[in-house]
Chain length 138, copies 2
DNA sequence: TAACTAGTGCAACAGAAGTGCATTTATTGA
DNA sequence: TCAATAAATGCACTTCTGTTGCACTAGTTA
């Protein structure tokens, strides 16, 4: 049994061939991926399967969904630095306006945000937009 | 000539009846509104007109677009506290998980966010989710 | 091996966003 | 004032993302 299979089972997800492939794909990509990205990477597979696989992964805390402001949901593997388990994913995301890619800055935590009296903060989504390291280096 | 007409003209937008109505609607609402909201408020008008009006307003910096993570674009009037003009809209938005409304917290500025070397921050989008003052008071 | 459950494939739908084009309304200049 | 021009609006359609229902297949368990 491979590492990936173990990981999936640890999250109560049965390691089917499809799921292993998708997990591997997500692990190789260093950026957050959209459903369409996976779709084009796995042209042979059905969109619905990929969609439901992502939903399963999300539900089982294998990936976290990212809303980077493009209007398209993206997903990235949860890492050690990602505390999705406690529903408090407090790292920020960076969206590059040039290459259009979104990366997790897991080591950068979101500072404490103060909200007015009466407001109860449950979750914070912070997306920084600009030029990423790859694009700015050119 | 009314206040609204003056405001529109100041932003190089011709004050048509439709635009004045939409502006008035936005001014009355204290929360960010989606296209569909305006649509149902102005059942007689065409969706396209409303859509393009919002786009025009956005382009001319009369409103700013808000991405509150629901996947639906919302819009709110730019106020004195809103520095959309310099493309640095640094106030945060609060999305209520209960009533599903999104408000601008213009008086709450986004703290300085540090990004890793090589990354260039141009814009920051911060959405706090939770329970708003109206809902928490009940 | 039969019964059952989970996973996958196919088709179709919903909602939001966006475009092209014709028509109407407003503005400008002779 | 009226024709020419530009801007705004209305209508029909398209595209894209996300989502669901249903049938079929594979894999698991009694």
């Amino acid at each position: 049994m491979t590492e990936i299979e173990k990981t999936l089972e640890n999250h109560q997800v049965r390691p089917t061939a499809m799921r292993i492939l998708i997990y591997k794909y997500l692990a190789e990509k260093e950026v957050a991926v959209a459903l369409t990205d996976i779709e084009s990477a796995f042209a042979k597979a059905e969109r619905t399967t990929l969609y439901r696989t992502l939903k399963t992964f999300e539900e089982k805390k294998i990936v976290h969904q990212i809303d980077d402001g493009t209007g398209i949901s993206k997903y990235a593997l949860c890492e050690s630095g990602c505390n999705c388990e406690i529903d408090q994913d407090l790292h920020l995301h960076f969206h590059c306006n040039n290459c259009n890619e979104t990366v997790c800055l897991t080591e950068h935590k979101i500072p404490q945000i103060k909200v007015p009296d009466g407001f109860v903060s449950e979750n914070v989504n912070l997306v920084v937009k600009g030029i990423c390291d790859k694009c700015s280096g050119q």
